[in-house]
């Protein structure tokens, strides 16, 4: 990098990260999120004291059909092992202080233990003592009507009583089928559909793809995509503010008499971009650290991470250049922000085709979006995750992106130089194209 570009990089970076607005935005945001979480925690703790989950429900069986089981009855269905582990961890971290939410998760994971009561009065007394979370009364004419009366301690839509209804259904099915149907058949009645999905792999063979596999492959590309979109949105303001500074202070003519427009643009892009990325990194580290640990625990493919990083960097440079160059066409800060917003939206366009790309990562739409520089980064990151990329597409699209960055810098420098020298006049589109042609 040329010496003068480096001088601009240093000035823009240090000038930005020392600004009170940057410091407040960077460190204030996690503090705000922390305070927000703290308030929810306090309210949750208070609620937990009032509404501690019991994991039990009382049953008064006037019909005499219920066959009570040892231990809790689960909700049924299959919860993926990774998801169950993650929820276990969440409960361990939050403890009972998370109140109703913890109760809900606990009920989901552990199921409900049904306790028999002879009379409704005894059951309701136990409910009043909070020994159980709900009471179900099975009337004598249940077989004829199918109706059951429920007493729920909470009005919440996620109360223990409501969550216990699925396990109660399973208990009643087992009770009604007992001695009449073979136990394996009962299990199939309760859980008749466990799907194992096979899809075409990269070599054309049918392979099984579970939820964990999907998270492992798409987690990183989606994470980088979201980071790219957020970083472009966050940095566009900083970039435009940075270039509008020279225009608003009318200092640009002095600067351009000392350094050529391309070096100045590159210096600003790198310096301001680094400040924007640093802000994002701090937010991620402070606010989303647990998410990082979770993702890291999924044994990610280093190749996917490296490729996504390469697309991320090139995309950031490309969109940063375009945002900066078009931002200076505005006559005031509001104009500049709107021009910059256009590119942020352009970057997100492939997300509109997410479903198509996941279904057909090697399809025509995905391939076309991959070679268009503006849509290439996000498309390629998603396709790499979906294993829909031929090996030669990666160097090809990286080369197209690198060339696009170089061309964008070249043309943007011309627009940048001329636009910055114009004060108070909004250029027309033909004028902009003429500047791009002119040396």
């Amino acid at each position: 990098m040329k010496g003068k570009t480096w001088i601009v990089v240093r000035r823009e970076f240090w000038g930005t990260v020392r600004r009170p607005s940057w410091l407040i935005g960077t460190f204030g945001m996690p503090v705000f999120v922390g305070l927000y979480a703290g308030i929810i925690f306090l309210i949750g703790s208070a609620a937990a004291k009032m509404d501690k989950p019991t994991g039990k429900a009382g049953v008064v069986d006037h019909a005499g059909i219920v066959r009570f089981e040892q231990g809790p009855s689960s909700m049924g269905g299959e919860i993926p092992a990774e998801a169950k582990q993650a929820m276990d961890t969440a409960i361990a971290m939050a403890g009972s202080s998370a109140g109703p939410a913890a109760g809900m998760v606990k009920t989901l994971l552990s199921g409900t233990q049904f306790v028999p009561f002879a009379t409704e009065d005894e059951a309701l007394a136990a409910l009043a003592r909070k020994e159980i979370g709900a009471v179900y009364v099975v009337p004598a004419d249940y077989l004829a009507t199918g109706k059951i009366v429920a007493y729920d301690a909470s009005e919440s839509i996620l109360s223990e009583g409501k969550l216990a209804q699925a396990p109660l259904r399973r208990l009643l099915v087992r009770s009604l089928a007992a001695d009449r149907v073979a136990p394996e058949t009962v299990e199939r009645i309760l859980d008749p559909l466990q799907v194992k999905t096979l899809t075409r792999g990269p070599e054309g063979a049918w392979v099984e793809r579970g939820v964990a596999e999907l998270i492992r492959r798409l987690g990183v590309p989606l994470g980088f995509t979201m980071m790219l979109l957020i970083s472009i949105l966050v940095s566009s303001g900083t970039l435009i503010q940075g270039v509008s500074e020279e225009k608003e202070n009318r200092v640009i003519e002095v600067i351009l008499s000392s350094i050529d427009a391309r070096s100045l643009l590159l210096g600003k892009l790198l310096g301001l971009g680094a400040a924007g990325l640093l802000q994002l990194a701090i937010w991620l580290t402070m606010a989303l650290f647990p998410l990082f640990l979770f993702v890291a625990g999924l044994a990610l493919s280093p190749m996917i991470v490296v490729l996504c990083l390469a697309y991320f960097v090139l995309a950031f440079l490309l969109f940063g250049t375009l945002i900066t160059a078009t931002g200076v066409l505005g006559t005031n800060a509001k104009d500049m922000q709107q021009y910059g917003m256009f590119w942020s939206i352009a970057c997100a366009v492939p997300m509109f085709f997410l479903e198509i790309m996941l279904r057909e990562p090697n399809g025509t739409a995905a391939r076309i979006l991959s070679i268009i520089p503006l849509t290439s980064p996000v498309t390629m990151m998603l396709r790499i995750g979906a294993r829909g990329v031929a090996w030669w597409e990666i160097p090809l699209t990286l080369a197209i992106l690198a060339l696009s960055v170089w061309l964008a810098l070249r043309f943007a420098a011309r627009v940048f130089r001329t636009a910055l020298l114009m004060y108070g006049k909004r250029p027309t589109i033909p004028e902009v194209f003429r500047w791009m042609r002119q040396a």
Partner: protein, 310 residues
């Protein structure tokens, strides 16, 4: 070899030719005036010298070589559109400007501080630019232009916004730069300052060069033309004793200091007046034909050029 050569330079914006085949040269140790009415093409020409804009045709040579990015560091530029980073400290702004002009090492700030001290702004070094008055900011800008000790100095309206005291400081600075052998291009509308400071001038109107030469040459050339075309009267300054008003061909006499400023009838030359005075035995210790003010030449050329273009 001239230090700065502008050779047949052309620059157009669409159908408007801002600079139309302009040529001139400037050497070290001279103050060169770049004159012209608003919109004449001066700023475009200066921006091309500074390599901010590129000419469509022609050459700009610095020390005999085409002007390149490397020449940025040899030039100090004070543009007409002036500005500083308002939220930054004065010393930091000067440090940044100096480094962009190729200054290196830890002593850039020390040099900037010394320059601020010389201009009477030493105590403002750590203040933000926005705290300074307009005149102070102007001085900071001039320091920023000269901090890297450039060979070529381009000053576009350097006296705008300065009070008489600070204007004198800047004039002394320009004289000092000239003594050091620097090349100074001075663009201004203040003709009295051009007369006072410039050795040679070029005047541009509607993109074309309309005047070029030493101030003395141009004045001499246009004194006669102005008399002929606009009937402008000759004026002489006389130090002596006698009735000047009673002499033939005298229109009016005005006492200025200890001297008399005598306006002659149209068509009467200073030589004729002097012959009359000596013939009548008037005592004269000093006699001088008052030069035609550059301002009148400026207005005459612009008006004539405008009429011709119409």
């Amino acid at each position: 070899m001239p230090q700065l050569l502008i050779d047949d330079v052309v620059k157009a914006y669409d159908a408007t030719v801002a600079v139309d085949h302009v040529s001139f040269e400037v050497n070290g140790g001279e103050v060169f005036g770049l004159l012209g009415p608003n919109g004449a093409g001066k700023s475009t020409l200066i921006r091309m010298v500074m390599d901010i804009l590129r000419p469509d045709a022609g050459r700009i040579l610095v020390n005999g070589q085409p002007s390149t990015g490397a020449d940025h560091d040899k030039v100090g530029y004070l543009p007409e559109e002036r500005g500083l980073y308002r939220k930054q400290k004065v010393i930091d702004v000067l440090d940044y400007f100096g480094r962009l002009k190729g200054m290196k090492g830890p002593d850039v700030k020390a040099k900037a501080q010394a320059a601020l001290d010389r201009m009477g702004l030493g105590e403002w070094a750590k203040k933000k630019v926005e705290a300074l008055s307009k005149g102070m900011q102007q001085k900071v800008q001039i320091i920023g232009t000269l901090l890297h000790e450039p060979e070529i100095v381009v000053l576009d309206e350097p006296f705008t916004g300065l009070d008489p005291v600070n204007a004198r400081v800047v004039k002394e600075l320009i004289a000092d730069l000239k003594r050091q052998g620097r090349l100074i291009v001075l663009s201004t509308h203040q003709m009295d300052q051009v007369e006072e400071l410039c050795d040679r001038i070029v005047m541009i109107d509607r993109g074309k060069r309309v005047l070029y030469g030493t101030v003395r040459q141009i004045k001499r050339q246009y004194a006669e033309e102005l008399r002929r075309t606009s009937g402008r009267a000759n004026v002489v300054v006389v130090d002596g004793e006698g009735d000047f008003a009673g002499l033939p061909g005298v229109l009016s006499v005005e006492a200025v200091g200890g001297e008399s400023r005598v306006t002659l009838d149209p068509g009467v030359s200073p030589e004729t007046f002097l012959a009359h005075a000596l013939g009548r035995g008037v005592s004269i210790s000093r006699f001088e034909a008052a030069p035609t003010p550059l301002e009148e030449i400026f207005i005459h050329v612009v008006t004539t050029n405008g009429a011709a273009a119409a």
